[in-house]
Symmetry: C2
Subunit: 451 residues, 2 copies
């Protein structure tokens, strides 16, 4: 079984639901929407990502012989269930907000319309993909906003939550505006540029630091960025300066140094001076080590002469907000709008569209969530991306996604760009027709249900 | 390329290091150790998990033709590098603390001894696996400690960070003492029991709630746990009572109900009363909805009559501590101990062993970290698990891992079992021979290094 593509990568209740739907011939069209109920603390906006992986998942959905054999021998299902699953493919429609788009709570960013069993089965993996990439893109965008013009590189693979998290984090942060990732496999899989210098163990494995630098330069004459904090950062910077003439005679220019520990603001200033006085004005300073958007902001605000940042754990785990209150909810079945009314978890029913309205200066003004059947109230965010189980367009290239993300961030009003929660959240209006529908459903439901 | 097994799932600098090691014939034995530098807030101990996945990764390490083709066309490496990689296998030794064992900062839980390029290359994925499963097992153990005798089920797949995170979280939490997971694929892959009831969408897709319950019972007569919070929890409990005689006539006993929102303590009490008064004393109450160990503790402390808990997002993202300060560091190369001295990140050099000492009542007293060459100072935690790239033992079964985790939690002194950080952390002594070695290395290093 393929851990990444098997449809058994789902919650058991999806399969039990399916069996019940088949048994009761409940195969009418269901409408599910994915949205975030509320922003986590310190987020003023979210950035959509993961759609490409969702579409790939839907397009290839099928149970392998091995999957079906497990279903049969599990003893959990009725004898004919595996046969239903064998024939199951995703034949539905998907509308979605393009990746790289900024969005807000209550706004569906993806809608599935499909026969109920299909739309139900895909919930777990669909949320799993869309939730994670959106979480990371939203986190990455914050570093992008505080470090304009600086190189930002994802260093997080080792503390990402598994392989797929490492890979998707590289993709999502690249979409949001990072320059690339240290994760090699993200290059062949997603076209993310890869970056890397040297490890402490490389320095330690040599009997002295200068020998390590010299060896490295000899092998990688075009990527001479030396890691200088293994023992004493400033002493190592002096060694780099001392080594430079020897390298220059061999035709090698030192590209830069990397700091990975200590008081980065002070060290960057002192190292800059050592490099400048040593004739290495062109050498850049790259910093890493427990960085996040807050520390990057503070370093730059303090005037630290740092040209690029490696951001690892905090990015790939979105450590200050490692999850979103993201859900995928049934909004209509068999032509009837549906509304969940659980305490604190009520949903807006029906098929919806999100309209965005801009100010005269081109910045975001407010969004309107309304029924799809309502009149247009601005620029529609949800767009058709899949019909009858087939994609309508080739995947957008990474360049297009990055360009969109950049435009979206540029269109944010200043208060929304702040790292801290802004006093006045962005305005998302629930339009009257939608409110009216919800009220009508609530009213109907107060009548005693027949048993 | 296989996203889960390709050796390109690594940081670029591992590959650049490798090329430099090959170029300089630096292939002597390197000793790397994996350990956690410090506990995150509110953790008093950690639980080791992920070793099985690490050993599988090491045993099968090899570059595929596709991986090598990428290396060649990437333009990042020298022409002979792919040939080195083609031949690369992991031929080293591994000693490790068994999964399910409790451990503390500064204690290596895994040691790799292998030719430097091999030991270096595996760092990123090895940390990626061991860090994540240990993070989740350590989080899960806290729920296990506060809910003795209760059923605990992992519900986290949808908000786990990707597919592998969902699967490994199911495994790690099961090792730590959970009863199982809702993630179906964790059953065939890891032997984790699967659990599941019904979804809100199932209830919503029916025109009335009782019809949904009746349909469900008909299809799953042996697993009649009804989700009762879609509209009004107590009203739904009354409907369940009213439905019971009809089901009983069909030979179906109601197993229980599930609450997923609202004030769970109050609802559980009221629902319990409704069920009891309705003759459903044997029906259990299962609760879910944004639960974590703190809420479970509070619910049980408040006497809420809840028999089992579904724990999702907080568990699989370890939301209050989504990462550990876990590292894999070079401690010896070519027979010489090595020490990184970076500010705040200094390591204890050399090959080490961890000894555990117990009190007379069998509970943990303190641990001693010392050089492997030192005399035994208690029960040795690190055990040989791989020699020359081959495992020494068949994988431990899940039952054995769970039994160990249970014994380990039972041996924790009471203060360490608390959810809050205990005032006096567990004692981990760094033995004199280890301190002496570190001091000697520091002393040598203050002599000016030859350039």
């Amino acid at each position: 079984m393929n851990p990444l593509t098997s449809p058994l990568l789902t919650d058991l209740y999806q399969l039990t639901m399916l069996q019940a739907y088949y048994a009761h011939a409940m195969q009418d069209a269901a409408v599910f929407e994915f949205f975030v109920r509320k922003l986590p603390p310190s987020r003023n906006f979210l950035m959509a990502a993961g759609l490409e992986q969702v579409l790939e998942f839907l397009e290839n959905l099928s149970f392998s012989a091995e999957d079906l054999a497990w279903v049969e021998r599990s003893g959990l299902f009725q004898p004919d269930f595996a046969e239903h699953l064998r024939q199951l493919r995703f034949t539905g429609d998907v509308d979605a907000v393009p990746e790289g788009t900024v969005f807000f709570p209550h706004e569906p960013i993806l809608r599935v319309v499909a026969p109920l069993p299909q739309a139900q089965l895909v919930e777990s993996r669909l949320v799993n993909l869309l939730h994670f990439e959106t979480t990371v893109a939203s986190k990455a965008a914050r570093s992008v906003l505080v470090a304009p013009g600086k190189q930002l590189v994802d260093f997080g693979l080792r503390r990402a939550h598994g392989a797929e998290a490492g890979l998707l984090a590289a993709r999502a942060s690249y979409i949001a505006g990072f320059s690339g990732s240290a994760t090699v496999l993200a290059q062949p899989l997603f076209g993310v540029p890869v970056f890397g210098t040297m490890a402490h163990s490389f320095v330690q494995a040599h009997d002295n630091e200068t020998a390590a630098f010299a060896h490295f330069a000899q092998i990688f004459p075009k990527s001479t960025v030396f890691l200088i904090d293994t023992y004493d950062t400033e002493a190592a910077a002096a060694k780099v300066v001392k080594l430079a003439p020897q390298l220059r005679r061999a035709g090698i220019e030192i590209k830069g140094v990397r700091l990975d520990s200590g008081d980065l603001a002070t060290l960057a200033r002192n190292v800059r001076r050592i490099l400048d006085e040593g004739g290495l004005r062109q050498a850049t300073i790259f910093a890493s080590g427990n960085l996040d958007e807050y520390r990057i902001h503070d370093l730059l605000a303090a005037g630290a002469p740092i040209d690029g940042f490696g951001v690892g754990t905090s990015l790939v785990t979105a450590s200050d907000a490692p999850f979103l209150d993201a859900v995928y909810k049934l909004q209509e079945y068999a032509g009837k709008p549906r509304r969940k009314r659980s305490a604190g978890k009520a949903t807006w029913p029906g098929r919806k569209q999100v309209y965005r309205r801009y100010r005269s200066d081109g910045l975001l003004d407010r969004d309107v969530v309304t029924l799809e059947s309502d009149e247009p109230r601005g620029t529609a965010l949800l767009q058709p991306v899949m019909r009858d189980g087939k994609r309508l367009h080739a995947p957008e290239g990474m360049a297009a996604l990055r360009a969109r993300a950049q435009r979206e961030l540029a269109a944010l009003p200043e208060p929304l760009k702040m790292l801290e929660t802004c006093a006045e959240p962005y305005r998302v209006e629930i339009a009257l027709p939608l409110r009216a529908l919800a009220a009508r459903l609530d009213e109907q439901s107060t009548a005693p249900l027949t048993v």
